[in-house]
C-alpha cells in the first residue's frame, strides 16, 4: 500500500513538473523555449539579438547584441553591449543550454557554432568557444538552425548537406561541453529539415522543413524566378518518438512549414506551424487513435509568414510576415479556427517575433537571410498590450550594427557567482575540443 501510495505521489509530482516545465520551453521567445530550460517568467532585463554583419558597416562581423529591455532602466531600449565574432557566417538562430548558462548561436553559411557565456555577466555575454567542425562531426550536415536544450545536451536541426547543398539533412546532438554525440538523418520520404520541438508529456518530437543551402544562400529575387529551384522546398512535418529518436509518421504540409510551437497547457495535444510559400497557419493535432493530422486554420495572405510566437495560455498565435512587414495576431482559442484579432505594420519587412512569458510584451526584428532581405532599415521593435491593442514601446536602431535576427531573453537573476567552476579557463565548455 505504501509503495502504491508513493507511486501515486510520484506521478503527481511528475504531473506538476511536466505541466510546469512544459511552460518552461526557448527558441526565439520565452513561450517556445525547450521544456528542459528554466524560463524568465517576469520582466526580462535583456534581449540578446544574434545579428548578421554587413560589409562596410562597423567591423562587418556577426555579433551578439544585448538590448536593455527593462522599462525602469536608464538605457531602456538601447544597445548596451555587443560582442562580435570574427567574420560573417549567416548568423541565424540561437538557443540556451538546459541550465541557461550558455547561448549557442549558429551560422547557416559555414556551419560555425558560437558558444556564449551569459551567466557570468548577463548584460555582457562572452564568447567562450567556437565549434568549427559541425559538418565533419555530423558526416555532412550543413546549416545548424534550431538550438534546442535537452538535459546535458543540445539538439540541433540542420538545413542542408555538404554533398550537394540540397535540403536533405538531419539532426545533431552535442553534449553541453561541445563534444559531438550523434547525427540522425531525416527519413528518405521527408528529407528536409528546419525546426525541432519536443513535447515531453507525449514523448513526441516534431520536425519541419525548409530548403537547402543552394536556395537559402541565393538572392531571393533570382531564386523566386527559378521555377525548378522553387520546387526544392520541403512539404512535410515528421512526428518522432522523442526517446528513441525514431520517426513515426510523416504529415504532408505543402509550402515549407517552418517554425513549430507546441501548445503549452496540459490537455492541449497540438502544435502550430506556418507555411512560408502557401501562407497558411496550420494546426498539427493528435487524433483519437493516437496518430497525427493537420488542418489549415487561417490564410495569412501572400506575404511569406516566417516566425510564430504562442501566447502562454495557448489563446493567441503571433505571426510575422516577411514580405509585407506585418505582425498579425490570431485568436486560436479554438485551435481549429484562427481568427485575426490584431495586426501591426512593423516596417518594410519583418522576421522574428518573441513574446514575454507573461504575455504582456512582444518584440520583433526584421532580418530574414542576408540574400533575401529587402533594402530597409534594420531594427528591433518592442510592443506591449494596452486595452486590447499592441502599443509601440521602443525601437532600437540596428543600422550601425547589422541585420538583427533571433531574440532570446536574459535576466539578472541568472547571474552565476564567479567561483572557480565559472571561470572560463576552468569551465568544462572552455576546455572542450572542437575536433
Amino acid at each position: 500500500m505504501t509503495t502504491r501510495l508513493g507511486h501515486f505521489v510520484l506521478i503527481g509530482l511528475l504531473w506538476l513538473s511536466a505541466t510546469a516545465l512544459a511552460t518552461r520551453p526557448v527558441t526565439a521567445d520565452e513561450t517556445c523555449q525547450s521544456p528542459f530550460l528554466p524560463k524568465v517568467t517576469g520582466q526580462e532585463d535583456y534581449v540578446y539579438v544574434w545579428t548578421l554583419g554587413i560589409a562596410g558597416v562597423g567591423d562587418g562581423n556577426d555579433s551578439l547584441v544585448t538590448v536593455d529591455a527593462h522599462p525602469t532602466s536608464k538605457t531602456y531600449g538601447q544597445i548596451i553591449h555587443r560582442i562580435a565574432v570574427p567574420g560573417r557566417h549567416e548568423a541565424h538562430h540561437a538557443g540556451f543550454t538546459d541550465d541557461r548558462r550558455y547561448l549557442w548561436a549558429g551560422g547557416l553559411d559555414d556551419s560555425y557554432i558560437f558558444v556564449f557565456d551569459v551567466g557570468l555577466d548577463p548584460a555582457r555575454p562572452r564568447l567562450i568557444k567556437t565549434i568549427t567542425s559541425f559538418v565533419k562531426d555530423t558526416g555532412g550536415l550543413v546549416g545548424p538552425h534550431t538550438f534546442y536544450a535537452l538535459p546535458g545536451r543540445m539538439l540541433i536541426s540542420a538545413l542542408s548537406n555538404a554533398q550537394d547543398n540540397s535540403g536533405r539533412t538531419g539532426l545533431a546532438e552535442y553534449a553541453n561541453d561541445g563534444k559531438f554525440i550523434r547525427a540522425i538523418w531525416m527519413p528518405k520520404e521527408a528529407p528536409y529539415g528546419y525546426d525541432v520541438r519536443v513535447n515531453v508529456n507525449l514523448n513526441r518530437m516534431l520536425t519541419s522543413s525548409f530548403t537547402g543551402k543552394r536556395n537559402y544562400m541565393r538572392p531571393f529575387g533570382e531564386l523566386s524566378k527559378d521555377a525548378e529551384a522553387m520546387k526544392a522546398f520541403g512539404d512535410s512535418i515528421v512526428v518522432w518518438d522523442f526517446h528513441s529518436r525514431k520517426p513515426l509518421q510523416i504529415l504532408r504540409v505543402p509550402g515549407a512549414p517552418l517554425e513549430l510551437r507546441w501548445a503549452l497547457l496540459p490537455h492541449h495535444y497540438y502544435a502550430f506551424t506556418g507555411t512560408a510559400l502557401t501562407h497558411q497557419l496550420v494546426v498539427i493535432y493528435r487524433k483519437e487513435d493516437g496518430t497525427w493530422a493537420t488542418k489549415n486554420i487561417a490564410d495569412t495572405g501572400e506575404n511569406i509568414p516566417v516566425d510564430l510566437s504562442l501566447a502562454p495560455d495557448d489563446s493567441k498565435v503571433y505571426v510575422n510576415s516577411f514580405l509585407d512587414g506585418t505582425l498579425r495576431v490570431y485568436d486560436v482559442s479554438n485551435p481549429f479556427e484562427g481568427k485575426l484579432i490584431e495586426q501591426v505594420k512593423l516596417g518594410e519587412m519583418a522576421n522574428m517575433v518573441s513574446e514575454s512569458w507573461d504575455g504582456a510584451r512582444v518584440y520583433a526584428t526584421n532580418s530574414l537571410l542576408s540574400q533575401w532581405d529587402k533594402r530597409s532599415d534594420y531594427w528591433l521593435k518592442a510592443y506591449a498590450w494596452e486595452n486590447g491593442k499592441l502599443v509601440p514601446k521602443f525601437t532600437t536602431d540596428f543600422n550601425a550594427v547589422g541585420r538583427p535576427h533571433i531574440m532570446n531573453f536574459g535576466s539578472k537573476t541568472m547571474r552565476v557567482a564567479s567561483h572557480p567552476r565559472s571561470h572560463p579557463a576552468r569551465s568544462p565548455a572552455a576546455h572542450a575540443s572542437t575536433r
Binding site: V9, W15, S244, H419
Partner: protein
C-alpha cells in the same frame, strides 16, 4: 511513412487507451495529495522575479501520455565520460569507482534542505520508486543508486542517514554521499555538467538554498553518462527500460 512504424504508434496508443481509465483514477488521487503537500512550499528555481505563474498550469490530469519504447529498440549514445571521485558515506571515504564497479549507476545531486517541489524531492521520490522497481525486477545486483549532496557543509552523515531512512533506502542498493570538501564537490559538478548556484537574499546573504537544474544521470559500467533525465521526463519506467537496454546492449555507446 513506413507502415510498421505507424502501426507501432497506433498500437501504442491503443494500449494507452485501455490503461487510461485506470490511470486517471489513480492520478486523481495523486493530484489531490500533491496539491495538499505542495501548497506551502516555495519554488526556488532561478529566473523568477515575479509571482510564479506555474500554478496556473497545475490543472487537468497529467500522466506521461506514452508507453516508453521497448527495451533494446533504441540507442543510448555516450554523452560524456566522468572520472571517479572519492566521496564520504557515513563519514567514511569511498570511491565511486568501487561503488559502481561493473554496474549501471543512477545518480542524482540533491540537498536535504531543498524545498523546490520540482527539484530534489522529486528526484529522491523518483529514486525511491526506481529502487522498488529494481528490487521487484531482481536487478539490485546489477544497478546502484547514488544520491550526492549539493550541500556538504550541512548534509552531515547523520543528516543524510535520516533522509535515507525517510525514503526507505536499501543500504546495499542506494547510497547517500557527500563530497569531502567544497572544492571536491565543484570538481565533480563540473565533470557531470551539473549547475549549482547559491541563492542570496536582497542583502547578499546566503539563504541556504541553491538554484540548480534537476538532473538524474544514468552511467554504464564504464562510467560513461548514457542518459540524463530532468523534471517532466523523470519517468521510472523509462529509466528501467534504459537500464535494461544498457544491460542487454554491447554498451559501446556508438563511440
Amino acid at each position: 511513412m513506413p507502415a510498421p512504424a505507424d502501426l507501432q504508434d497506433r498500437t501504442e496508443f491503443a494500449k494507452l487507451d485501455r490503461r487510461r481509465a485506470t490511470r486517471q483514477r489513480r492520478i486523481a488521487i495523486a493530484a489531490s495529495l500533491v496539491l495538499v503537500c505542495a501548497a506551502p512550499v516555495s519554488v526556488d528555481a532561478g529566473a523568477r522575479d515575479s509571482a510564479d505563474p506555474d500554478d496556473a498550469y497545475v490543472r487537468g490530469v497529467f500522466s506521461p501520455q506514452f508507453i516508453p519504447p521497448a527495451v533494446g529498440t533504441y540507442e543510448l549514445p555516450v554523452i560524456r565520460r566522468v572520472p571517479p571521485f572519492v566521496l564520504l558515506e557515513a563519514g567514511r571515504p569511498v570511491s565511486t569507482q568501487v561503488l559502481t564497479a561493473g554496474k549501471i549507476a543512477v545518480m542524482s545531486f540533491i540537498y536535504t534542505a531543498c524545498s523546490d517541489r520540482l527539484g530534489c524531492p522529486l528526484a529522491t521520490r523518483a529514486m525511491s520508486e526506481l529502487q522498488t522497481r529494481l528490487l521487484e525486477g531482481g536487478l539490485q545486483e546489477r544497478v546502484v543508486l547514488l544520491s550526492i549532496s549539493l550541500d556538504p557543509g550541512r548534509d552531515t552523515p547523520t543528516h543524510l542517514a535520516t533522509y535515507a531512512r525517510h525514503f526507505k533506502a536499501n543500504r546495499l542498493l542506494w547510497h547517500f554521499l557527500t563530497a569531502p570538501s567544497e572544492g571536491d564537490l565543484r570538481r565533480m559538478l563540473a565533470a557531470y555538467g551539473q549547475d549549482r548556484e547559491p541563492i542570496a537574499d536582497e542583502r547578499g546573504r546566503f539563504t541556504g538554498r541553491f538554484r540548480h537544474v534537476l538532473k538524474v544521470f544514468v552511467l554504464d559500467a564504464a562510467a560513461r553518462i548514457r542518459n540524463i533525465y530532468s523534471s517532466g521526463f523523470l519517468v521510472p519506467q523509462v529509466v528501467v527500460n534504459d537500464i535494461k537496454t544498457l544491460l542487454t546492449s554491447d554498451a559501446t555507446g556508438m563511440k
